[in-house]
Symmetry: D2
Subunit: 465 residues, 4 copies
């Protein structure tokens, strides 16, 4: 939580409106019914996300700044508090889906109410009549972007229980948009055509080539790093969460990072080699989870007539060998890497390489809501690995802990990150459900090692030299 002090209020207000609008845009294709249900304790109703992100601004920005601010309902302080003990007790998380009132319209009105007051605050602040906690607003905006990703992932999880296989938005739209893009980017056209041909071949389900071949043949290459004493963590410019600080020195051995993500095809070779049936490649807790949960494939995959199909937000379809594998847990990512004779990267290794890469990729605004095959050049020659940002979060081998010298902020905001530094693994790089402006090289996402409902995938690493 550093650094936004120089952003002028007007720019911040613009950002505020853009981020708030993006949440509403994501909820647009959802029915009222869609926004109420909660599919598991780890997920929340979309309606709740829309209210809770609003609660954040009300609680941490408006109430402290504006003495005349009035809430639409005092009970919301309790109802929409996620986990801030310093604010007060929280409504039971697994029962969020049972609160049918306030309904979707009332939540929309709650959002409008807070947005109006935020406008008031921006105006008064510009006039010098109110304090503007710009850093807290910045946190609030990034907080809302995190929940935008959860709106997408939680809704995908909810839809997975529906035997009618509803779609979020039709693929149609996506193809049209792609075609629009392609008119501007003609070199992509051929690549797309090749992909279609490949998929057609695959749909005829040609037998996989042998294991060793499979594991090596298609592998595009590594990006090498010589290691040594490096620095990671937030460097001081722009927004960052507290958990990215302080910037600090880490000593690295020489290492290599894969030039692209592990694909569905590669992961299928692991599956066909008995990946889910033999304990060897697995961590002890991982194997126990495989057995207890009956995992046989990534989440959302189903076997039909000898072929693997998957639920996506744009419809139910066969898996595509060229796409990055997705919806795997840390346990699966780690087991795959061991089976492949490699390992996952540490977060220091990942960040050291990612800090050199431009922030572009397949993000939530692109409307794919699904990872995509890497662009053709895949440029390992160029030294920069592909797909570093967007597509899928990349599991690292690093447990989520505090950086040396870390201090949690005072007050309720200090609960944002610090108290979760146990039993979780760090993921890096953002996904196809992440807003583009939300990600950066030092960004640390974290989930328990068994979590699969996020868009999380695998990049291999290994020791070098």
């Amino acid at each position: 939580m550093t650094g936004t002090a120089t952003v002028p209020a007007t720019s911040l207000a613009r950002q505020y409106r853009a981020v708030r609008h993006a949440s509403a845009w994501l909820a647009e294709p959802m029915t009222v019914e869609d926004q109420v249900a909660q599919s598991m304790p780890d997920a929340s109703p979309v309606k709740w996300h829309l209210a809770h992100t609003t609660w954040f601004f009300e609680t941490f920005v408006l109430k402290p700044a504006l003495p005349d601010y009035r809430s639409v309902n005092d009970a919301f302080e309790h109802l929409f508090n996620s986990y801030y003990n310093a604010v007060g007790p929280q409504f039971s998380r697994p029962q969020r889906g049972l609160v049918t009132r306030p309904g979707v319209d009332a939540v929309r009105e709650y959002r409008a109410h807070v947005d109006r007051w935020m406008d008031t605050l921006f105006e008064r602040a510009a006039a010098g009549d109110a304090p503007l906690a710009e850093d807290v607003i910045a946190i609030g905006l990034h907080h809302e972007q995190q929940h935008q990703e959860l709106i997408v992932t939680d809704f995908k999880h909810l839809l997975s229980f529906n035997p009618l296989r509803p779609v979020y938005r039709e693929r149609q739209e996506r193809q049209e948009r792609q075609e629009r893009q392609e008119r501007q980017e003609p070199q992509e056209r051929q690549e797309r055509q090749e992909r279609q041909e490949r998929q057609e071949r695959q749909e005829r389900q040609e037998p996989q080539s042998g294991r060793a071949a499979e594991r090596q043949a298609g592998f595009p290459g590594w990006v090498e790093h010589s290691g040594g004493l490096v620095e990671i963590g937030h460097a001081g410019d722009g927004f960052a969460y507290d958990n990215e600080t302080p910037r600090h020195k880490v000593f690295l051995r020489p290492f290599r990072l894969a030039s692209r993500l592990v694909t569905v095809g590669e992961y299928r070779a692991f599956m066909e080699d008995g990946g889910y049936e033999r304990p060897e490649p697995w961590l002890s807790d991982g194997w126990a989870t495989v057995q207890a949960q009956g995992w046989r494939a990534p989440l959302y995959w189903e076997r039909h007539d000898g072929a693997w199909w998957q639920q996506t937000l744009t419809g139910f379809r066969q898996v595509d060998d060229a796409e990055p594998v997705c919806h795997v847990s840390f346990y699966e990512a780690d087991a795959y890497a061991r089976w492949a004779g490699a390992r996952l990267a540490s977060e220091a290794e990942w960040e050291t390489v990612a800090a050199e890469a431009p922030i572009n990729g397949n993000f939530v605004e692109d409307g794919n809501w699904h990872p995509a095959p890497p662009a053709p050049p895949a440029s390992p020659a160029a030294g920069a690995p592909a797909q570093i940002y967007g597509d899928v979060w990349e599991w690292t081998q690093s447990p989520y802990t505090s950086y040396p010298g870390y201090r949690a902020p005072e007050g309720a905001i200090g609960e944002y990150n610090a108290k979760f530094m146990c039993n979780q693994m760090v993921l890096r790089g953002g996904s196809c459900a992440t807003p583009r402006s939300h990600i950066r090289a030092s960004y640390r996402n974290f989930f328990p090692p068994s979590a699969r409902w996020q868009f999380a995938g695998i990049r291999l690493a290994s020791d070098a030299g």
Copy 2:
């Protein structure tokens, strides 16, 4: 399932429309959000109830009778099947609340679709162009009435998780309706005033009088029966479920049945005597449940500032000592009866007495959705116990088993009652959530002994002579 053979199609069609309309009327005050959520595996979303009752007519009436019938969606056969293995596999019960599509509007359209086809069927049958399975339609109507009661009880359970304490319908309406009634029934007015005064006294929380006094003083009397060889079970006229047959002989010892239901005031005396703190009056499984669930009062009761409050469908208010106690499990009913030096009635005892009583009382159409104090005369002198029908289901001491000579019907309809004849207790008499035309002396309701979310209460019995 006997007896409807002589009802003419037109009368049956009228009944059909009336019952179907009643379901819609019950859902009227609910928002779309209200109709989606499922508060526990034993309860279902209102939307599901509305669809499943429709599915019953589609599956058991329309499909067999009309070759040209087309469903709005073939997947509904699976989605809205509750537990009929003979029809096919069923969608997972605890996940009914996760199926957000079809939504409320689509379910309404499904109902309209089936209703239109039922009209077609009635017409064709009148013209002799289609067979009319009148007995199956009769079951379907009683089936829908059962679900009407569940709509009320499941929705009450759902609302209980909402800290904003929403109401189903305002009490206002109820009082207005009462006042209308009272203009026609002036003798009730005084009684109502007395009740208000009593409640005001009670709200000042005067200390309860001593235990023995409490238990005896207010008790209005018993209805005696000399026992002997009696007959129970459905006698042959009108509709009955299979589980009410065959009518058969039972030998009874002389017994007494309380002239009215146990009241909140009486039950509070049990609570204040340590009813929930000492194992003595409890069955072993009952006491284990009290401990495991932390029960300290009936369901929906809360302690605030030294007084007991309760959630009702018309609002959150203090408990009323004059009302029948409600939302107790069989375990609590049984423990209360033992504490009070009495017992619960067997279902044969209950039915023998109830067969002589007129079917009137406080039913779902009366719009109270809450049990009411007995009418002033309470008429024990007259020999007929009060509150036999309506208000609250009365737990009996009888486990739910088949009657001697019982045979389950062939086919899927045979699953309706027979396969549940284990681990459940019989309740009798209907409740304030039961449609008036649904109940009769031989009617056997059944729930597990720990169930509390139904409108279930207590009537005492004891050996006589």
Copy 3:
């Protein structure tokens, strides 16, 4: 609990010593280790059974009668109390296997201590110097006999977790004993030879004959009863538990009882007909249990190389088609009966027939600890069904409830039976683990419908006339 008032003290003392000795005899083949472990919360360590039965006499006989009685350890009052709330709090049942001290020797000494004091009591009572609560002692002796059966069944359950398949006592001994018997009963010899031949045939696993044939061909017949108003319950002579009283009238329809128990061969036909794979014959709770527990056969059965084997107390061996099927739950008994086109008997039906049969059969003293095929004549002609007593407890269709007019005794002894009258089913007739002197026609055993570790089997019944 009635009736022992006229037994003279000396006879009672003899009974006391005989019953106490029988417990020690059952534990004789067990190692110290065997007597400590507890295989599930429903079962208890053998050491605990030996101590708890001793505690019963100490608590309910010695302490009230002898002011100078001193316990070996005051903590035993708490430690060995099973469920008597009136005596005080109880040590946690699922943790009985964690109390390694007092050890086996100390429990043996505890037994000797109480036995010495009981001798003192018998002497003083004979001299008129102490009161002798003969009815409580009688309960204590029957109580210990019940635990003798549990020693056998709990130990069998414990051994089932040991992959080394230890035996309780060698079959050798049993065969020798049989041979001794056969010298006195030559007519049995041929039957035994036939059984061996049959088993040898079976071990070659000849294919079962078709289902219908299987179900009818071997079936030996029914015992008919004309029904009417009968009396059941304890009649007044000899010992009985309170739950067998009062004797009372029940009206029965005409019925038939199978002339022998259902055999392993018959039950295998049910299994081969998909008994465990199709929901049709099952109660709803039964089918849910089959699915949740993965039941595919009776408890202790295992499939090896295409044949069914079973663990017995005398060793691991193939199942014998001629033996009564055993270790089935009520759910399985009920499903089998429905599949076979019959039903289970009510306890009133069973008792009415059993009251005419002599009390003999295969009991714990016979040293088989396993049910045996019926004796050759099987005498359906004679009107008396075979195997009514001993071999296996017979599940009835009757839930365990109080008899009309039942009153639980005052005080702690009142907890013996009354508080379990819910969620259990009645079993009748005793088993191969029951002491012969423990059983009678009016005896009511009870277990939850899912319990399988008792020697419980199936006798068919059906409506007649």
Copy 4:
């Protein structure tokens, strides 16, 4: 697993006999019954520990080296395999306490059998007739020492369920031994007297002084370190597990390590300040565990008449404010540190300081089986912190992961450590249940953050400079 190549066979044989004998010595005060029971899935019966450590030598040493080796029972390969998938399937861990046969004597004979064959192996190897896998034997010996610690901790856990509060060995013996020591070390006598006086004061339960005072007054000081690029991990001499390798560089910031362990008195101040009642100092998972488990004090503490008592292996007695606090989870250690304005050390910090300290302290051979107050000088002046080794394992803030460049050994031995590198925290320094020769500066113990049954305590650390 490095380094033992130069140890001559005779020395290794001596070590073998010493370690094997130590296991038997620990089991000596236990009854047969004591050695059978299993108090939770995480703990094992003592009998199992004695057999499994023997299995290790049989499986990994004798079978590969001696073609004529014969096991006493082939089933032991399955029965006593803990978690080595490469060896074969394992007997179900939570059911180890149900295997009553082989009994204690048979396990003793199994040990003797393997010991005799190990003698044979040592002899043949000396004669050049057999290969001697010295490194595997060294692992086997350290493996057995780990299980010696578990024998102590698992048995303490088992005894905690016994309401008779049995002791492992009488304190008497310990005091006698102390007195013997004190005759040689007179300067300790006064300190001991002071401790007794302090305890007597404490038993009168004088009110604690205020929080701040409590937290600072008694605190003896810090050991400072200037940080920088250090090396940790096994350096190459002597035995080490694979998980301590490779030695590698870590960059540290300046830090301070407390000069002694946190005491009971200090921890009580945390408790009295609402430590277990307020969420602030806790990690989110920690607070959830506190709530779910109802933790109010360290494991084995009980409140009686306003004072805290604790179960120890030498008896039940009041807690001693001067002793190190023990049997706390990582969650409690972390929360205490945060409350105290400090933090836990990283394992790199800890090892950097510990590498300078001599390996002495309170170990299992000392016969205290309980942590002891620090020796009087406590020598913070000397620069070396007290109690680094022995007394209690010290929770670090480091999740248990692989060191950079780590490679798990090939084969079954590779399962020893590597597959547990997830969801566990590193502990350092050994405890009063650790054999003295088992510990070293680079030793990494690991347990889940909620584990409390190990002798685990707290040393504070903080950032410096």
